[in-house]
């Protein structure tokens, strides 16, 4: 952990994520109002950043077209974005580890079908699937989590499978088998804990990915529904008021970029820490470096 923190990229990434997460969790303390609160709309709409309103409210980032405080919505939106992103990544990691472990160490019977399934799912155009899934059911944060999780596990499965395979023939695993441990126990106690490092890297990069996609779906109106704030639907609503109130779309966009940069840098640093002979080479793991734009 300490050498990791000495890496400036990791320190920056962790700091940004910690601050955003803390702001999201402590949202009621960081901001006074509610994200959906609106007063006299005509008097309070489109106030520029650092403006006060007649009721005595002060708006650091201005207000949107319903007179809602952009800063408050940004902070509550961080809750949604981080929670949805984290849960989606956890789901895809759980699925990926399960499939990867089964392919790498499971009975021969399940290996081939699961391998074929992974290859197949990896080749699917993810956004097409996302669009179809998200548009057909009633859009909600839970649906976005499930959809992102179900379409994001394949790179993790690939990584875990490769790692498990190479660990399975190592002497300490053979000795555990020789001592009479069951296969399940060997997998759970000896192999998986050692196979998790690349998963952590994939998780960091995947988090940025999931947050971008969540915002993208919400931007298209297929994700978190207004009036609940999410960075994606904030950008979408700011799109209509680009000319007279650019701050409405600018604030959530910058927050989004900051968080995704943090995730990427953290992932890079973790990658180098895990694989020291490739230090200074920024090559991301191939399976996770292709991301939607």
């Amino acid at each position: 952990m300490r050498p990791l923190l000495r890496d400036r990229r990791a320190a920056f990434g962790l700091a940004v994520l910690a601050i955003v997460a803390a702001a999201g969790v402590a949202a009621p303390l960081v901001t006074g109002g509610r994200p959906t609160a609106q007063g006299d709309i005509v008097a309070t709409r489109f106030l520029p950043p650092l403006a006060g309103d007649r009721a005595g409210g002060f708006h650091v980032l201005g207000t949107d077209r319903f007179g809602r405080d952009v800063w408050t919505r940004l902070v509550y939106g961080a809750r949604v974005s981080l929670a949805v992103g984290t849960l989606a990544v956890l789901l895809s990691i759980a699925l990926g580890v399960a499939v990867g472990a089964a392919v790498g160490f499971g009975p021969g019977l399940v290996q081939l079908p699961l391998l074929a399934l992974t290859d197949f799912a990896l080749a699917l155009p993810r956004v097409v699937l996302l669009l179809v899934l998200a548009a057909l059911w009633r859009p909600s944060a839970a649906l976005v989590v499930i959809v992102l999780g179900l379409t994001g596990w394949m790179p993790v499965a690939r990584l875990v499978q490769a790692e498990v395979r190479s660990l399975a023939v190592r002497p300490f695993v053979e000795s555990a088998v020789a001592l009479g441990s069951s296969r399940g126990r060997v997998l759970w106690r000896h192999i998986l804990p050692n196979a998790l490092t690349p998963v952590i890297v994939a998780a960091a990069l995947g988090l940025g990915n999931a947050i971008t996609l969540e915002a993208g779906l919400s931007f298209l109106g297929l994700g978190v529904q207004p009036p609940a704030p999410s960075w994606g639907n904030m950008i979408a609503s700011g799109r209509d008021t680009l000319v007279n109130a650019p701050w409405v779309a600018a604030a959530p966009g910058m927050a989004l970029v900051l968080v995704v940069v943090a995730c990427t840098l953290l992932g890079d640093a973790l990658q180098d820490a895990w694989n020291p002979e490739r230090r200074h080479s920024l090559t991301p793991p191939r399976a996770v470096s292709a991301r939607p734009r």
Partner: protein
């Protein structure tokens, strides 16, 4: 070399078939159908049932799928439920627009990304860090947001470039150069959005790949035999670094297509992605199916071409036992 490529082509066809079947089932599994929107809230249940029967939506799922597949194979892609237009014509207009945008962006992305990555691998740490910060930021930008930012700057403030559509309203009246200029002006912002973001990812990857190659013994050997730094980079480093880059090209095609979906939505670019978004939202089954087939084929064909390119650039891939 022929056999593995044939196997790849078969696998690609299987993926397309899988995507199509999956989409078909998902469409029917979801609650609600296009008839509700089509007949309107004032319709009686009998009218809705009649319309459902007319569209064949009351038949069992396998029968519907077989019927669709049969018609599709014969070239009858059905009619849009919303607009009544033939799906083939609808998508026939959209495919060139998407290919134009995605293809040009791919070329620009890789040319510029290779250049930036190669510069980074060969300059001092200061410039390298500065460029790394730039590329990681570009990499993190969501396309729809960068698109909006470019619209503010170049359309609203600069009044320089149009932000919507692929051609001006008067495009049909224009001829020759002015027509081309009109198209290019409309292309500029969506293309810039896709390309800028793409450069971020590509440059990061190229830099890493070149750094990896620079540590190889054969690079030291090339330097030791007295080749100039430029020769070493061009003949030994760049060539070997290109192999993973070509592989990434194949892997980034689905991502590029995703990117065009969002960029098309922002810039009202009349491509496949925009048609797909519209059709999915309106439950326009025939258009969704057609657009899904087209996008799956585009992605799979792109991957296949990237495989061919990898074989072409890396002679080792041609040897038996090395195919992956």
């Amino acid at each position: 070399m022929i056999l593995p490529l044939a196997r790849r082509a078969l696998a690609g066809a299987a993926v397309v078939a899988g995507v199509v079947a999956l989409t078909f089932v998902l469409l029917r599994l979801a609650p609600g159908d296009p008839v509700e929107q089509l007949v309107g809230p004032a319709a009686t249940p009998e009218q809705a049932a009649l319309q459902r029967h007319a569209l064949g939506l009351d038949r069992p799922l396998p029968v519907q799928f077989a019927a669709w597949l049969g018609r599709f194979a014969r070239g009858d892609w059905g009619r849009s439920i919303v607009t009544g237009r033939a799906v083939r014509g609808l998508l026939g207009d959209a495919v060139p627009a998407t290919l134009e945008l995605a293809g040009l962006s791919l070329i620009l992305t890789y040319l510029l990304g290779l250049a930036v990555g190669a510069v980074q691998a060969s300059v001092g740490p200061r410039l390298d860090t500065a460029l790394s910060v730039t590329t990681v930021t570009l990499f993190a930008l969501p396309g729809y947001w960068l698109g909006l930012a470019l619209i503010i700057v170049f359309t609203y403030w600069g009044r320089a470039l149009p932000a919507f559509g692929a051609a001006g309203l008067d495009a049909d009246a224009l001829t020759g150069w002015s027509r081309l200029a009109d198209r290019l002006r409309h292309l500029a912002l969506p293309l810039a959005t896709l390309t800028l973001i793409g450069i971020g990812g590509t440059a990061r990857f190229v830099r890493g790949a070149m750094r990896d190659v620079l540590t190889q013994p054969f690079v030291r050997a090339a330097r030791a035999k007295g080749l100039s730094p430029f020769q070493v980079t061009r003949r030994h480093v760049a060539r070997n670094a290109l192999i993973p880059v070509i592989t990434l090209l194949g892997l980034s095609l689905p991502a590029l297509f995703s990117g065009t979906v969002f960029v098309e939505a922002v810039f009202a670019w009349p491509g496949v992605g925009r048609r797909l978004v519209e059709a999915v939202q309106a439950r326009d089954y025939p258009v969704v199916m057609g657009a899904t087939v087209v996008s799956a084929v585009l992605v799979v064909a792109g991957n296949f071409l990237a495989d061919l390119a990898a074989v072409w650039i890396d002679p080792r891939m041609r040897q038996p036992g090395r195919e992956t």
